[in-house]
Amino acid sequence: MSTSVTPVLRLDGIVKTFPGVKALDGVSLTVMPGEVHALMGENGAGKSTLMKVLGGIFAPNEGQIFIADEPVQMTSPLQAKSKGVVFIHQELSLADELSVAENIFLGELPRKSLGRVDWLTLYDRTDRILKTLNVGFNARTRVGDLSIANQQMVEIARALTVDPIAVIFDEPTASLTDAEKSVLFDVIADLKGRGVGIIYISHRMEEIFKITDRISVLRDGQYRGTLDTAHTNEDEVTQLMIGRSLDLSRKASSHEVGEIALEARNLSCGSLYQDVSFTVRRGEVVGFYGLVGAGRTEIAETIFGLREPSGGEILLDGQTVQFRSPIDAIARGISLVPEDRKGQGLVLGMNCRDNMTLPQVGDLVAGPFVSDGAEIAIFDQYRDKLDIRTPGWRQTVGNLSGGNQQKIVIGKWLSMHPSVLIVDEPTRGIDVGSKAEIHNLIRDLAAQGYAVVVISSEMPEVLHVSDRIVAMYQGRIICDFTAETVTEDNLIQAISGIDPRKVA
């Protein structure tokens, strides 16, 4: 790289510590004009922290930020924006009730005398920006009426109100369709042509290799290197990210399956799902695949005693059961690792041990008091078994990475020795390394004789872990497949409501 060009943005030796954690340990990053620079790393590697330092939300303990070789102190996102550094966030931060124009210029609406808003100028400027984005809505549209993808475009339009020097895209394609993605990539190409430096954060390899020039990788808060996109490949990047290579091939189940542990007969729950029947045997992983809203989570919640079925029955080991609350279900050996880890799975402000022992804390007693020793023994056992990385049981769960948090939830339920384990979206928001570990764990559990139900919206995941796959569409089971007979095409047909057996 030629040294005569001044980088638009340079982060130098950034250190950021939180009590007990070194989130960033001397991270440096240089972005050249007209460059698309990918920032990669597992969840918890420090990407978000680094961007929050750049945006002035966190003050770094050490290190310096340079914009066009000028040292700057970032104090807030607004101040960063005034210096030409703008952020496009993965999570939308728009006011639904306001118009597109008001959202884009929020905080800096053009004014007339007496502080009145200059609406004509506002709409005019907004429409000019929207035109460059080639979108199908205008300045006066209410943001709440837009699709998620279009709301994302509003976020991008917001970034273009200033003449940006550097634009940071944080997982921008998470909710976009292919057509919308290509519009986004055009916008990025346009910015690039104008000499803007771009930091592009994403987990999606194909995008990274399609649009970026260089890739910088963080791991455990440390800078691990920068690769030229043209001269590297996915394996090399993955290895840099997780420190080893991944084995994603499916393990054939080598063990025998046992008796039927869980059975649903014509189970219905109002409009959520109807006439659902299936069986799960010991030693077997049954995957539930379908679109969001197909009724899979609701079935799990019914089995776990959180919803009352409107018809049909649930059988455990051949016996009809009726659960009025999760307490009943847990007592009969059912465990649910819920979909929403932070909202349903964990008490984030509580420590690791207390979270893990919560369902059985009433039984871990010596006299009237909770037995510290019994609790720590359980925590230690599952920390070792699941390889949970935490400084100790006193660590607040909210401080752990997504993968380790999920392992705490899994450990919580394994320690209950369930006969049926239901796992809803086991790896949502979890980095590739932990993902593979959790997949292996699910296979191991089946081998040990657990009856496992895995609900997932990711096809590779369902294909990877399941012995059988149940495909759902709008509250009904369309068909089920064995691991040997399933094909991706059949699965896609089934979750769109077409029974592939009848088509043929």
Partner: protein, 324 residues
Amino acid sequence: MAGLTKQGVAGFLAKQGILVAFVVFMIVFTLANPRFIDIDNISGVVRSSAILGVMALGVTFVVIGGNLDLSVGSMMSFSTIVVLDLHDKIGPALAIPAMFALTLCLGAFIGILVGYLKLNSLIVTLGMLSAIHGLTLTWSGGKNMDIADKEGTWFAVFGQGSILGIPTPILLFALVAAVLGIVLSKTPFGRKIYAVGGNGTAATFSGVPRARVVFLTYLVSSLCVAIAGLMQASRSLGSQNTVGQGMELEVLAAVILGGASLLGGSGTIFKTVIGVLILGFIQNGLLLVGLPFYVQYVVTWVIIILAVWLDIAAKRGRLLSPIA
């Protein structure tokens, strides 16, 4: 190494800030008026804080469980009036258990509304503040309640007596604090309160009976109110219908000063005791330096706001932050 030490000090301040503030505060007031740390003065402050303190211990349970209780002041007036009235009618030995039973019924009623019916605790307890006041006036007919034979009853022991030279109110406060402190930190019930207040949904998904836990926190709170009412009635042997008026806010102030989060899931009995004492000593200190008593209302409020601000600032790592 220097960095680590600095971190240690900051961490200590963030965790024990309230204790540090208490010590600094005591030193400053002692320098202003040495009588402040006179043993009689200290004993007097603790004694006069004891009634408020016992109520704050119960409210700590409710707040950690993620709810509010604004009915405790009004409920304490009720307990006081009821026990004084029944004292002369059925004798103190029966009046006390009768009053406890009635007060616990009020707590159970709130517990059912907030726990099982899942109504907003602010609305329920604010409504109960008013409703119980009406109940108290109905009971008393609006008149002050007095014990006829003030010299001849053993009932005065809870508010005026002493054991081994220590005033009974202080002993009762210490005893209730010790018992509830152990319940909260050492028993499964205590753990479940933290879980329900920290994340009620996750607690439900873990098989914790959320409604029952919330119900029980209100029962504990009303039990504490009954004890406080007993102490109050015994101290004065006569009472107005409004004796507890306004105490719900002072109680809440003490709990917040102690560092319990109003969002639930955090706080301890020990911290609440510190919060109660700080409040007591602030009010006493202001009087000792010669300020009129009504100044304490303003100062108390300022200190609470400061406490809340410093608490969130410690979590954010700076005093002003663009995000919460």
